[in-house]
Symmetry: D2
Subunit: 305 residues, 4 copies
Amino acid sequence: MSSQIRGVVPPLAIPLKNGELDVASLERHINRMIGAGLNGLFVSGSTGEVAFSTSERRQQIQREVVRIVDGRVPLLVGVIDTETERVIENIKAVEEIGGALGVVATAPFYALGGQAEIEKHFRILKENTNLELWAYDIPVCVHTKLQNDLVLRLGKEGILDGVKDSSGDDVGFRWLSRANEAAGHPLQLLTGHEVVVDGAYMSGADGSVPGLANVDPDGYVRQWQAFERGDWEAVRAEQDRLADLMRIVLVKGVQGFGAGVGAFKTALQLLGVFDSNEMPRPVAALEGDNVEHVASVLREAGLLS
Amino acid sequence: MSSQIRGVVPPLAIPLKNGELDVASLERHINRMIGAGLNGLFVSGSTGEVAFSTSERRQQIQREVVRIVDGRVPLLVGVIDTETERVIENIKAVEEIGGALGVVATAPFYALGGQAEIEKHFRILKENTNLELWAYDIPVCVHTKLQNDLVLRLGKEGILDGVKDSSGDDVGFRWLSRANEAAGHPLQLLTGHEVVVDGAYMSGADGSVPGLANVDPDGYVRQWQAFERGDWEAVRAEQDRLADLMRIVLVKGVQGFGAGVGAFKTALQLLGVFDSNEMPRPVAALEGDNVEHVASVLREAGLLS
Amino acid sequence: MSSQIRGVVPPLAIPLKNGELDVASLERHINRMIGAGLNGLFVSGSTGEVAFSTSERRQQIQREVVRIVDGRVPLLVGVIDTETERVIENIKAVEEIGGALGVVATAPFYALGGQAEIEKHFRILKENTNLELWAYDIPVCVHTKLQNDLVLRLGKEGILDGVKDSSGDDVGFRWLSRANEAAGHPLQLLTGHEVVVDGAYMSGADGSVPGLANVDPDGYVRQWQAFERGDWEAVRAEQDRLADLMRIVLVKGVQGFGAGVGAFKTALQLLGVFDSNEMPRPVAALEGDNVEHVASVLREAGLLS
Amino acid sequence: MSSQIRGVVPPLAIPLKNGELDVASLERHINRMIGAGLNGLFVSGSTGEVAFSTSERRQQIQREVVRIVDGRVPLLVGVIDTETERVIENIKAVEEIGGALGVVATAPFYALGGQAEIEKHFRILKENTNLELWAYDIPVCVHTKLQNDLVLRLGKEGILDGVKDSSGDDVGFRWLSRANEAAGHPLQLLTGHEVVVDGAYMSGADGSVPGLANVDPDGYVRQWQAFERGDWEAVRAEQDRLADLMRIVLVKGVQGFGAGVGAFKTALQLLGVFDSNEMPRPVAALEGDNVEHVASVLREAGLLS
């Protein structure tokens, strides 16, 4: 009934060169991640610079990803936009290109509203697509928390197929997971918090969407496999290692997207996967001491010699 | 040096019918407002449902407004979007249609960043247009406050021509106004807070962008004229009346955009200007007791018999 | 019916020396302010370091202020504390010392609650005192906004005598003022926003509680007198001057109370009123360039030669 | 080097009768909890209505708890207050009564400040006590997050002995735990999030401070014992059960302290431990359907027949 997607489903980081999509780097990147054994990819998420990409760029990215992935893993594609009509337009574009198992939408943002508008929003989206519909709970970006009652109701009715939780509300997530179990698991629940995936697995998550898996896909895959065989000590030890690695984002003088995705791209450049750590305008690429910081954490983790 | 735009420049509310732009109502609405003597129009602002409109709809609105206004008052057009490249695309569309004196952009939103990205954002936008560039300070929607130092620096360098302040920070606005005076008034400063325009005029505002002027343009025009001739008691008395009228937005069970713009559209329908109080999806139009509430406030104000 | 208190009622800044109350400086300070013609004093407000003072210190301050003022102006005394029983204890101490016209209490803070608890809180407080009871609306400190409906209802019932508004919500203040007028003015409304007192007077404020009046009481008294005689241009010009003077708080590397009250005390020391700009622990006194900044703004204002 | 306190250390809920401390119920309650095998008690925490208690009440509670516990488990006592001098006064009272291993203080609150004041605050507190000093990280109440760097530095210097984390920031907690390990474990780290204690144990917590352990101490003790023997499946299963039990707080029309502690007290009354579910003023006790809701969750959990 619920989505087949479970396990490690990273949000794809996007290589740029002179403002253009760097297709060669993207190809190396995707092949490296699929080679590590991950279970799916989330294209045009927050990490995948959806907010920075024009419609044309989003479509170009989807087209190239679909071509490169070539059916090896299922794809979720972000259709994130301020309000319903704009999201529907994005859904239509995703469907036209093809190759996606589902689309991922947030609560409306920019304009102020309440849970009634959010509910109607997802209902209208579902009327406009046959793809899986996933809710992306990311209050730090959209400034509204999806209520557990709401997403569960939409799950039971078949409006929503899953939730990507980046809410930072681990208490709410535990309750959602318990209620989802009690209802027969209508929703797939993925956590976006790459530093505490072990806790999310304890809470009943069906998988994770870790931005850091762009840098170290092997770690998250090993952790998922340990979870699958019930080896909690291995789940925890892997998480400790990945929490240490995540310190790449603790750069100086930069915050938010520029720090987080900036560090991922810089690590990928240092690892020889991306040709450049270029960021979408108006964000500056990391440089100087911040690059050295990323390199130093990678070396401590044994990922860079 | 700075923009010619001053006085009352309302953000245009948009009439809909069955999800389509209701051009006949729009024509009545614009002619009524220009007839009242306002000094300009702000198209595709927050009130003008910019977040709900597809690119095509935004362009349709601009085209119709330009045609109807026919040069009688200057136009500012909102190019609001999440990040730089998307805003540039909107600017290009505005330029292609023509008829705008300036474009209005917010700080980037959705992705998290800092003042450095905001500054670079506006600089890049200015490199991409010859129109006036206005900053829209609206933290309640974009969740970042534009810093006074930043907008003033951009004003002095000719990057920004004006600021529409909807920040709710009247202390900051006073300081911005004082610093702007000290610098030779490089920026035009308009307030978006229709309930306390008199205080903003005391603080040095060059005009106002009152959503409520969609309903009662005459009041705001009279207030501006009183201000121009230094009759502060009349400025204040008019504001008291308009503050009372603004109670149309205090509806029950609805919040944010649905309450505010919902009440404006409902009032316009009751006044015979709009054919419908329809709202863009997923927002519901006001109904029942809430419509009666709007009518009752209009009657108390003597606008409805 | 409502309180006699109106006009300029500054929150008294407190001089310290080696951690003790500096009574000699306090005497100079109060006499200077009363000499300027202000209309009352607010003792143990946020500026009056109520949160930093033990019960004993609060009582010592009240005792000395009552002695020095000697009935020349009415006194409001802050009884600010986390929850009801603690506030009642403070009220009892204020009554025992005597000399106060009213007490000033905030919404409960620290523990999380809702408007029901706030309403009950003020009702219980009123049952425990015959002094005037004022509500202090300061969400930046207590993280709850007092709702207009609530304070107005409590005003009409005679529970509350007045409101000191430091909410930063000038739209809400205008509506409160309008509703208060419509109800026969049961509440005295004072604004705490010293940078935009002119706007608050336009909105119907009965006076102000400007922290900056510790530094320049003459300015706020002149402004009030201009307001009383309907000379709005003078009200505005005085405010412009005071807004410029308020830039003393724009110091570097310090924020909040340390910047604001720190600048007031530093200015008072520079003006020869306070012997020291010492701050209550754990806050550091301004020093070095920050003192020079305060001096420079005072010189620009012509207050320091 | 670091504190001996680890394991389950519940924040003691307080029984009231007619506004007075109900000593008989308190005795039953403490004996039941110690009988369950918990590892310590936290007196006068947020759950222990510290914000609602006068100094005298706080002292009465400590005196009775010390008498009843009689050395069977170690005690931490909250000295929570707005600023440094007031907290020192509370510390002196705790020391005078005796029987406490450590005191627990939050960051300063009410007045606005920064990390510099927080650091100085804890340093001054440590100069004023020989008891263990614990930091209570509870931004939802004090509206400042303790920075990891700060608490770790204070831990290494011997200023702080431990941290009670109620920050809701599980990513930050993981990083703090990792850094604390790397520094030789100067701090004991306890989590206050009773719904996800299993995740906190994965993250390296040395124990928990679960308010819900007032209701079901056995569950948290069993969970701790399972953790100590490395049985993660049992840790997780117990947590699932406790997460379900925590739904007692999901009452209607009440929020925050009134809902959470209100539900704990109501459960304790239903279980025959407390004579009353009375709450401190101005908070109302749960009643009607909300009591029935608590009973129904207790029955589902098999705690009530």
